[in-house]
């Protein structure tokens, strides 16, 4: 598939994000995209607003995690989103991971297991959709629902298929917003992927602050995650920044850390998101 070939080629370079995002230089997008909090960009908690109708957004993040025992995870999750309809977006991502050392993962029986000494490969395929019910009003917050399905594809993708439903709410007070996420995963609990699995239960909140003149968003979050039934719950905190680098491109940087025994000692992420449109898909195009 041409897309897979393109992704693979880019991943071989030292700057996969740059390769992916700047490959579409003719595109353009909203100059306030830096306020659009996406899943893991750079925080786990996201906001309740989708991308604009007819907009595409391509993301090329890189994530590094160091877990207890010194194991390391390098992960990139190229993602493409599209504003399919009013207030609705769909997308997919293709996690690609490299595990070095002995990484801890939660086994199907809830115990922490160690895998691999050094493995690299595709870590599954995920498709998702998000629907926003309303913009924020005087009384109600903005509310959205998101659905994800991940398939066990690739050497590190695990063996099962999982799905998740997430409820998202966003409320603002001027430059400050609060986001609440609650997600429930279900499906196969055997052989989860090594990276970015759909956890059984995730909930948390984030607060962000907009810096208008700098076109920058500062985010802080706390969330809890239980990978599988019976597994211990990890609680992590993180902070991140989204910065409007160019008219159509957002740079994000984040760092997070566990508060309990399970979770990353340190996780760093950096990514680029680039929005664009395709004239042929626009209404009234001639």
């Amino acid at each position: 598939m041409p897309l897979i070939r393109l992704i693979t080629r880019c991943l071989r370079t030292s700057l996969p994000g740059l390769c992916l995002t700047l490959g579409l230089t003719r595109a353009a997008a909203a100059q306030i995209d830096y306020r659009n909090l996406d899943d893991d960009r750079p925080t786990t908690i996201e906001d309740a607003y989708p991308i604009e109708r007819y907009a595409f957004e391509i993301q090329a993040p890189y994530r590094y995690e160091r877990v207890a025992g010194g194991s390391e995870l390098h992960l990139t999750v190229p993602e493409l989103e599209y504003g399919l309809a009013s207030n609705a977006q769909i997308g997919f991502n293709v996690p690609f991971a490299s595990v070095r050392g002995r990484a801890d993962v939660v086994g199907p029986d809830g115990s922490i297991q160690q895998i691999g000494s050094s493995r690299t490969g595709l870590a599954g395929l995920k498709v998702f959709g998000l629907y926003n019910f309303n913009t924020e009003g005087r009384l109600l917050p903005a509310v959205a629902i998101r659905g994800d399905v991940s398939f066990g594809v690739g050497a590190l993708g695990g063996r099962g298929t999982r799905a998740a439903l997430k409820a998202i709410a966003t409320r603002s007070w001027g430059a400050t917003r609060i986001h609440l996420n609650l997600a429930r995963g279900f499906g196969s609990e055997t052989g989860l992927g090594a990276a970015d699995p759909l956890s059984r239960l995730t909930y948390g909140g984030a607060i962000d602050r907009t810096f208008l003149r700098q076109s920058m968003l500062l985010i802080g979050e706390i969330y809890a995650r239980q990978s599988l039934a019976g597994a211990p719950t990890e609680v992590n905190v993180g902070v991140g920044v989204r910065y409007q680098w160019r008219t159509a491109t957002v740079l994000d940087i984040g760092v997070s850390r566990r508060l309990r025994a399970l979770g990353p000692d340190l996780a760093l992420t950096i990514g680029l998101a680039h929005a664009f449109g395709v004239a042929g898909l626009m209404p009234g195009h001639r």
Binding site: A29, G110, N134, G137, S172, G174, R184, L212, A248
Partner: protein
């Protein structure tokens, strides 16, 4: 590997609880025609390589528009939330911040208006969306003109295509049909804002003047250098407006047909849309400022006005009437002056913005020739300059060349006001530039809304005088 025995009953219960919660959230958020909850409904702009060319090539102008967005947003928020000492807040604090800080160092990119106007955005999201959508068209038209890779014909074609795309969103598009000025000036809440807050109102009108006026140097300039020079000259005129507020501000709402005649002739649909947009800006300011519209009715009154501006059948005027509105409202000089042609003195209207006070007749406070305010030519050097100027302008070839040369026109426009040459110079004969003292009257048309605006028909939430 052994799996943990599933605890299905508990899992089911928890899942049902979660599903129930999601259902409640979804139900709460589901769109209902009722009202208090709007849909987000954002839509991407028409893609193409032309996008962002204006910002790339004319950043000093493009960034000003970001500051303008802030100015509009903070105005609406303050008018809605009515903090203590509102007049001082707008006319002093916010005005000074805008003119002494934000306009001087405008943001690199568009601002997130929701941050500046949170209460307003929550109250009337649809109004914000309609403005955003029209501002997008504004910006994209500038991008087209700034893209030197396009031929003039390609530019015109692309602008029409952008206008078509804009109009595909019927629920959010100002229609390309000129609406009656009565919608802005003859309602029970009309003119409250401009009378109560003349400095801020003049600032908004100067924004609107530049937003449409900048099209002119982009069209008149044949090369990038000419366009650059023209844009700089128009910007210089904008900055001149900031020097002596509110006296230096436009006295009436700048009409696109008057301030940007070339653009209006080339793309009348877009020009009409922008005039309707600017009228709606004023209307919302009035509704928010007027005590006659109680707070609990502001949303419905604003939404009724928005609906009126999406209606192509009521309170409309012909294109000819629209083209003549500039004269009816006091002429180009009352609107801030021409964007690129020779500057004419601004008349001082008795009541800022009251078109009836400045239209048609000799206006109080107007001066001409060498009357008050014109520096005398006392020195020998002054007299020499004046003679040189008069001899040059007396030559039809030189005059024609100067009219055709945007750089020369800019240089003439930039001659400091203190020189007697400039003050005494009669405006060169250029299209759309008239003496402000005797504005051209519009030939009466049948059913001319501009001559005697009809009272606005019954609109939900709107009353009459």
């Amino acid at each position: 590997m052994m799996q943990k025995p599933p605890t299905m009953p508990i899992a089911r219960v928890r899942f049902r609880r979660l599903a129930g919660l999601l259902g409640v959230l979804a139900t709460l958020g589901l769109p209902r025609p009722a009202a208090a909850q709007d849909r987000r409904n954002e839509q991407f702009y028409y893609p193409g390589a032309f996008n962002w060319q204006f910002l790339a090539n004319y950043a000093e102008a493009a960034r000003l528009f970001n500051a303008f967005d802030y100015g509009h947003a903070v105005l609406y928020e303050k008018l809605l939330t009515k903090p203590a000492h509102l007049r001082e807040e707008l006319e002093q604090k916010q005005f000074n911040y805008l003119t002494r800080d934000l306009l001087i160092r405008p943001p690199r990119f568009a601002i997130a208006e929701e941050v500046v106007e949170p209460s307003y955005a929550k109250l009337v999201w649809q109004a914000k969306q309609m403005f955003d959508w029209a501002h997008l068209l504004h910006r994209q038209v500038y991008d087209v003109y700034a893209d030197e890779r396009l031929t003039p014909a390609a530019r015109d074609s692309l602008i029409e295509r952008l206008t078509d795309y804009y109009l595909t969103r019927r629920d959010y598009a100002f229609q390309p049909v000129p609406k009656s000025m009565a919608l802005m000036d003859e309602q029970y809440y009309s003119q409250v804002f401009r009378r109560g807050y003349p400095k801020f109102n003049g600032l908004i009108w100067s924004y609107h003047w530049l937003q449409v006026g900048l099209y002119e140097p982009m069209i008149a300039g044949q090369t990038r250098v000419e366009k650059k020079a023209g844009v700089q000259a128009t910007l210089a005129r904008f900055w001149k407006m900031m020097k002596d507020p509110p006296n230096s501000f436009p006295k009436t709402m700048p009409m696109t047909s008057a301030v940007a005649p070339r653009f209006s002739a080339a793309h009348p649909r877009a020009a009409v849309i922008f005039d309707n947009l600017h009228m709606m800006h004023d209307i919302i300011s009035d509704i928010l400022a007027a005590d006659t519209v109680p707070r609990e009715r502001k949303r419905s009154v604003i939404y009724a006005a928005l609906a009126e501006f999406r209606d192509t059948t009521r309170n409309v005027m012909t294109l000819d009437e629209w083209r003549g509105m500039g004269g009816m409202m006091g002429g180009i000089a009352a609107m801030g002056g021409p964007a690129i042609d020779l500057v004419t003195p601004s008349p001082a209207a008795a009541v800022p913005g009251d078109a009836r006070a400045v239209s048609g007749v000799a206006m109080p406070g107007m001066s001409s020739g060498t009357s008050r305010g014109t520096p005398p030519c006392n020195t020998a050097g002054d007299k020499q300059k004046l003679e040189l100027y008069e001899r040059m302008m007396g030559d039809p070839v030189i005059r024609a060349r100067m009219q055709a040369d945007t750089v020369l026109r800019r240089l003439m426009a930039d001659v400091p006001d203190s020189t007697c040459v400039r003050a005494r110079a009669k405006p060169a004969p250029a299209a759309n530039v008239r003496s402000p003292a005797v504005p051209r009257r519009v030939a009466p048309k049948s059913n001319s809304l501009s001559r005697k605006p009809h009272p606005m028909p019954a609109m939900p939430g709107m009353g009459q005088h």
